[in-house]
Amino acid sequence: MKSNSLLNIALVGNPNTGKTSLFNQLTGLNQKVGNYPGITVDKKQGKCKISEELTAEITDLPGTYSINPTTLDETIVLETLLNKNNDSYPDLVIVVAEVENLKRNLFLFSQIKDLQFPSILVINMSDQMARKGISIDIDALKKELKSEIVLVSARKKIGIDDLKKEIENFENWNTEPIANISDKIDTVFFEDIKTTFPEFSLYKSWLLITQQKNLGFLSRELHQKITAFNTESEKIKKYQHKETIYRYQIINEILKKTYAVDKNEATDLRSKLDRILTHRIFGYLIFFGVLMLIFQSIFEWASFPMDLIDGFFANLSELAKTNLPKGTFTNLIAEGVIPGIGGVVIFIPQIAILFMFIATLEETGYMSRVVFLMDKIMRKFGMSGKSIIPLISGTACAIPAIMASRNISDWKERLITILVIPFTTCSARLPVYAILIALIIPDERVFGIFNLQGLTLMGLYLLGFAAAISSAILLHNVLKIKTQGLFVIEMPNYKLPSFKNIFYEVVEKTKAFVFGAGKIILALSIILWFLASNGSAKFKNATEFVTAQESTNNLPDAVLNKKIASYRLEHSYIGIMGKVIEPVIKPMGYDWKIGIALISSFAAREVFIGALATIYNVESEGESNGTIKERMAAEVDPISGEKRFNLATGMSLLLFYAFAMQCIGTLAIVKRETKSWKWPILQLTGMGVLAYLVAVITYTILS
């Protein structure tokens, strides 16, 4: 065994067993989120000190009911446990079970045991046994399962030390299989498997055969051997069925001897809550109320920290400019890097609040009721009840939302969900909306209570959802993919949410956003700054060119400097790019400066504001005259003398941003999740054309 390196431990278990609570208890803040090679599924790992000499690296595998996967997340479990070359291939496996659903949890445990890993059964929520009228004869169960068992209560930190103590001794654990599938199903067939794959346990060989299409790591030689067994799919299916029945037979036998429930103790709180939360009227009302609460909080609670962050980075930028020696490097820091970082950090409050809500709803078990409530409706749009969670997440950021679609087992439903998510109003659109609305919509009240600006913002949110739903209907009718309609979801018992779990979830999701999307935003801010501060010959000699013009004679210095700066911007690389696309964007009512911001925000929407800030900043040559909003308000069309950001241009921009696919991060994740360039390209062009047409029409009507 590994003596000098880390002990690899895999944490496996059904969803809703408190597996994550246990993981958090074992590892604390020593967690990191990595990627599994080749796929974007998050891999949660953490270090845990088992004893003075022994440290373990624990991998929290996605929750699953069985080793046979039905979703992408579950495929990870299979792959990690079967592929010896996987970095996380475990030295031992901890299977987390929950006291109430022990039978179903033991199904998974029996599969792990049959893979002959040193494995230990952790029965969680043991503190609730008495209340639920459950009694377990642990010693007898240990004997029957030929395994060590530890009772824990992860949330209350009970039993964690016992578990560590048992792990120290893992080399002496019994690794005999539990189920003898060979004798019970087809002796000849399985004996043949045994002789063909002498190097593997029988169950592993059987999984290699049944799950061949889900395994990416097989060598060619192994592939051929496996294919030889995979000729009759009917037979394989029948045997899987038999295996399942057989496993439950064994488990029922074992539990008969060791497990008892006093039915009278069972509470009916669950059925009462179910009746209300899935009621045909109250159910929807409550769900709508929850949604309103979430959106309200995102705006109300997040606006204060966001203002602080905004102000902080503006001051920091100013501070850098005044205190650092003048030069290119200082400009890069003050005009490129600091605003770039600020542009990422500013989204943290909203993303954190949103994920706090989503984690809470999932922890309590309410999310499953929403899925139940919404499934039929969502199916009319070609999606699944499970699409609700990604669509709500999409209001924070499309990237984690698209990853959240992985637990939709039906490919067509999943694909449609992925394709329409970018229409939902993500938080990157918010600053763009906010500033444009403030510029073009008067801050007035209608009917005495509704704020007109707030109504416009809400309208844009609804527009986003409407666009998502209508394009889903379109895709549903156009895409020729067979749906299997397979849909099984567990309705877990209601629980009080654990603060600790929610906290970790929020930290993890926020980190993923900052380091994922953040990198792109920061890099682009720097590139943008570079393109704006370098340019053609005319850019370099701007002063001579401007002063050579007769009209500039006798102008006061300040005005002259401004003229030079704007001449420079026009001939910088980014200015040249803006000029090139000007004819195309003119019908939408934009000039080349907005064009620059548009180009830059094709990589990430939020860059729009930063880009305009940079442009007007460069143009004003360091004289800071007011906030970005004031500068935008002062910007006039040099020909007509009208305000640049008037109603027509503003509305056209708002709608363009509502529909256009302007996020490299999202495109990249769609490519990875769908394993094809076809879908991201479809999104980019489809949404782009729609946005352009809508913007042109809006501008034409309003101007």
Binding site: T244, Y248, D274, K376
Partner: protein
């Protein structure tokens, strides 16, 4: 006879007889929905689909197409 889970009314119970393997996801079996087990219909979603059942100790929601494929005998 000829009853399926889809014929149950809320609160009614039945014993699973058999089903067509192709129409049933393996994971439904693995969650304990097996022949001989008692199944009870707990709730029906507002638009008559999906169904919320309890089977073999598990609380699950399944779609009506799946429910129609699972033959049962009603318990009275």
């Amino acid at each position: 006879m000829g009853d399926t889970i889809a014929n149950l009314k809320i609160g009614e119970r039945g014993i699973i007889q058999d089903f067509c393997l192709d129409a049933i996801p393996l994971n439904l079996l693995e969650m304990g929905c097996l022949p001989g087990k008692e199944v009870r219909l707990l709730q029906i979603a507002p638009l008559k689909d999906p169904l919320y059942i309890k089977v073999n100790g598990s609380h699950l929601a399944i779609r009506i197409e799946t429910a129609k494929q699972i033959n049962i005998t009603k318990l009275r």
